[in-house]
Symmetry: C2
Subunit: 171 residues, 2 copies
């Protein structure tokens, strides 16, 4: 059996982006219990010179989009970073998830050897390296940061809201 | 060309664990500039019911160890969580890096289909799933959290201290 990079990308990104919806539900519940405007969390940060929550989610959505587009040689759609509210964050996540659903395992044939490049890169990376060295670390960096912004502010998220839906084999 | 999971694990974990050394240098510099005891950062957290920095690093070291051991069918060495100081954190990282260096690409032959299990799991996961769904997300979850604990406390770490040593192809 050989590895198909579809398995390391599309279902992983999809389930993590889907999981953020539950974090947002918990953010709403916390805001209601503490009687503050949940939108405040959308601009919360862990440091003053850091991207706020919304921008972390935009980065996560973008990383999932670019990873799959670059590895399969497709042109990704432009998705401007215009979100300002929790409802818009949910819509942005839905847009990213819908885009991921357009990919098939066949699209990823040979992805590990495809040259992948962004304009900010001095040259391309081999697809497998692009995934292992950049895409996955960057995806989880921004996703974990978004999670910790909520956690730091008292939202009742836990590790089981990050590590979700593990595909155990039939016992 | 087929994918060998060595590439997605040993060099990735090694460079990220190595990179923490620079974060610690920056933590020392911040503590000296602000005239506080850098050891305070070792027990810092982003929430009172969260693991402190030292425990996040222990988790990162453990995850790198278990990932490689389980994927290759080796018995991992026991490494008790005894660290209490920055110097001991550096030593723990060095121990993890040295263990990673014992693995070869050949060790990972067929790793994607190997049944991988921890005692807390209801049943095993296929190796590829274990890596994609659990090991990599968990590794980066704890590594990013450790980073954000320092960042939140004012240590001058930046994104380029997390996304490091990208293997660009020769232009």
């Amino acid at each position: 059996m050989s590895v198909n990079l579809y398995d390391a990308t599309v279902p992983i990104f999809t389930k993590h982006l889907t999981g953020v919806s539950k974090w947002l539900d918990k953010a709403v519940a916390h805001a209601e219990a503490k009687k503050y405007d949940v939108e405040i969390l959308m601009n919360a940060r862990l440091a003053p010179d850091q991207y706020p929550f919304i921008k972390q989610i935009q980065a996560v959505c973008d990383q999932s989009k670019y990873t799959c587009a670059r590895l399969t040689g497709k042109e990704p759609p432009s998705v401007p970073d215009t979100e300002k509210t929790l409802a818009e964050v949910r819509a942005r996540l839905a847009t990213a998830i819908a885009y991921l659903a357009t990919f098939t395992r066949e699209d990823f044939a040979g992805a590990e050897e495809r040259a992948c490049k962004h304009t900010w890169m001095p040259s391309a990376m081999r697809g497998g390296d692009y995934l292992d060295h950049f895409c996955l670390p960057n995806f989880h960096f921004h996703l974990t940061t978004a999670y910790q912004i909520l956690r730091h502010n008292g939202v009742d998220v836990g590790k089981n809201d990050y590590i979700v839906d593990l595909p155990f084999q039939k016992a």
